[in-house]
Amino acid sequence: MDVSAEAKRIMVQALSKMYSSRTQRGGLRLHRSLLLTLVMKSAREMYHGARAAEGDKENQGGRGPAASDRRCRKRLGQATSEPDFLPCKKAKMDPEGLRRAAGSDSRRGTALFTRSVIF
């Protein structure tokens, strides 16, 4: 829970810093934006890993394959809903992009935010 809470806090702060850097004098700093994106990626992976581990613990013992399928669907369903750490104003993203972003595809990890900081 601690890891998950810390990861969530770090993600919230990263988003906040990224939004505030848009109004900074001199414009967006690419280096800073990239570092925030990398922190965001680490924290997100940790967050989802911790949440998945909690989900595993809750469903432990006496459950068959059908239950694990339900668990998978449940996890997928959670990923498609709006993450609770996002502020009200968020970068536009299609549902497909949200599902991809919530997954653990590390190759596209930075795409989530570099898209919004490209200039």
Partner: protein
């Protein structure tokens, strides 16, 4: 080399001077953003967030006595850069001076390069200590004389006047960088220099402003694939074909311009594997290199990341030959430093004249002297409390945990708003310039 050039623990450092306002209320424009000695050490230039350059000159009175005290006084002040607006992108371009680099002196005048985020300027600083007098057609104040009163002809002569130092922009190198310039470096050929931004490095000729050659381009075809940026670049001090650039991933690439016109493929890659036991959320941030500097000899280079200074031998790529922890006690505080943005601070580092000691800044107005030859280090502080003339600086100690000893300061008491990001070391003598937020401290070796 004149002077011992040694520092660290054999040398006792004394306060010499402090420049800048005493007020605790700091005007943002007065925040010092770069400090640089010229090649002789006679001149010391500072740049600030307001786009101004202030040059101090060492007094020459007692220069014949090498161990005497010499003071730096204001020599010239000028507005180098003004705020601009990029209308296409609706972005303001800050006037903050990111870097100053001196050109080697060729004649009576001095030249320096100063840069903000987008534009580099070549400034000529020259002295005028005489002026022509005795014009036939003009009065001394410039008014034209009544031609009917002119009955004789005379040759104007130069007469002494009060010294005037003039700074004039000789070249403006603009419109070559899409991203923010972080480095400039003058080549040893004294004809070219490089400028580096987050993704590209350009090579310029000092005489030519309307074009530059792109020599490094790490911009990916798809910006979504961006994984690292360039953080610093520098030419080798003697080999005009060689330069290095550091990255946000903690790597340094050495490039040889003879190999190809575009140096995207490095000749050497300096990288140390990460210690897995130190892995954290913030590993990528703290491994980003904020400064890279060649030694005067050209055999070594030094890199600064958030927590450490590393010395690399150019002949060995797989690990640094020396690693010094600057403020390891901050490793357990990275989360707080991330919250207050301090983790993004970019510290610089510098070598002393004979490459035996390196120096870098820290928080609470502390700065660190790392003696390579004796493998010892000392922490000193730049503060108004220790600014009596010739007052010897006392070493400072930080208590990382446990019982705090007398004279130690605990990590939680450190003032993270007081940071020393910029330092410079006189090329020949034991004189250092240390920039706090808006003050410039000059310390010298204790003279008995």
């Amino acid at each position: 080399m004149a002077g011992t050039g040694a520092g660290g623990n054999d040398v006792q450092w004394c306060f010499s001077q402090v420049k800048g306002a005493i007020d605790d209320d700091v005007a943002e424009a007065d925040i010092i953003s770069t400090v640089e000695f010229n090649h002789s050490g006679e001149l010391l230039a500072t740049g600030d967030k307001g786009g101004r350059v202030v040059i101090f000159q060492q007094e020459t009175e007692n220069k014949c006595q090498p161990l005497s005290r010499s003071e730096y006084n204001v020599y010239s002040t000028f507005q180098s850069h003004e705020p601009e607006f990029d209308y296409l992108k609706s972005l303001e371009i800050e006037e903050k001076i990111n870097k100053i680099r001196w050109l080697p002196q060729k004649n009576a005048a001095q030249f320096l390069l100063s840069t903000n985020d987008k534009t580099i300027k070549l400034w000529k600083i020259s002295e005028r200590d005489k002026r022509p007098e005795g014009y036939n057609l003009k009065e001394e104040d410039g008014r034209y004389r009544d031609s009917t009163t002119i009955t004789t002809l005379r040759v104007p002569v130069f007469r002494p006047m009060d010294l005037m130092v003039e700074a004039s922009p000789r070249r403006i190198f603009a419109n070559a960088h899409t991203y923010h310039i972080n480095s400039i470096s003058v080549n040893s050929d004294n004809e070219t220099y490089l400028s580096a931004d987050d993704l590209r490095i350009n090579l310029w000729h000092l005489e030519i402003t309307d074009r530059s050659f792109n020599i490094v381009d790490i911009k990916p075809a798809n910006m979504e694939d961006l994984t690292e940026v360039i953080t610093a670049a520098e030419f080798h001090p003697h080999q005009c074909n060689t330069f290095v650039y550091s990255s946000s991933k903690g790597t340094i690439r050495l490039c040889d311009m003879r190999a190809s016109a575009l140096c995207d493929r490095h000749s050497k890659l300096f990288e140390e594997p990460e210690d897995p036991s130190n892995r954290s959320f913030f590993s990528e941030i703290i491994s980003s290199i904020s400064d890279v500097k060649f030694s005067h000899s050209g055999r070594y280079m030094m890199t600064r990341d958030y927590l450490s200074v590393k010395i690399w031998d150019l002949n060995m790529e797989n690990r640094p030959v020396e690693t010094y922890q600057v403020h390891e006690y901050l490793r357990s505080k990275l989360c707080s430093l991330y919250e207050n943005d301090c983790i993004f601070d970019k510290f610089e580092c510098c070598w002393n004249g004979n490459d035996s000691v390196v120096m870098t800044g820290s928080y609470n107005n502390f700065f660190r002297m790392l003696d390579r030859s004796q493998r010892r280090d000392v922490t000193l502080e730049a503060s108004r409390e220790s600014s009596k003339p010739r007052q010897v600086l006392k070493p400072r100690r930080v208590c990382a945990g446990g019982k705090r000893k007398k004279d130690e300061i605990s990590v939680d008491s450190l003032d993270f708003n007081k940071k020393i990001l910029h330092t410079a070391w006189h090329p020949q003598e034991n004189i250092i310039a240390v920039a706090t937020t808006n003050n410039l401290y000059i310390f010298q070796e204790k003279v008995n």
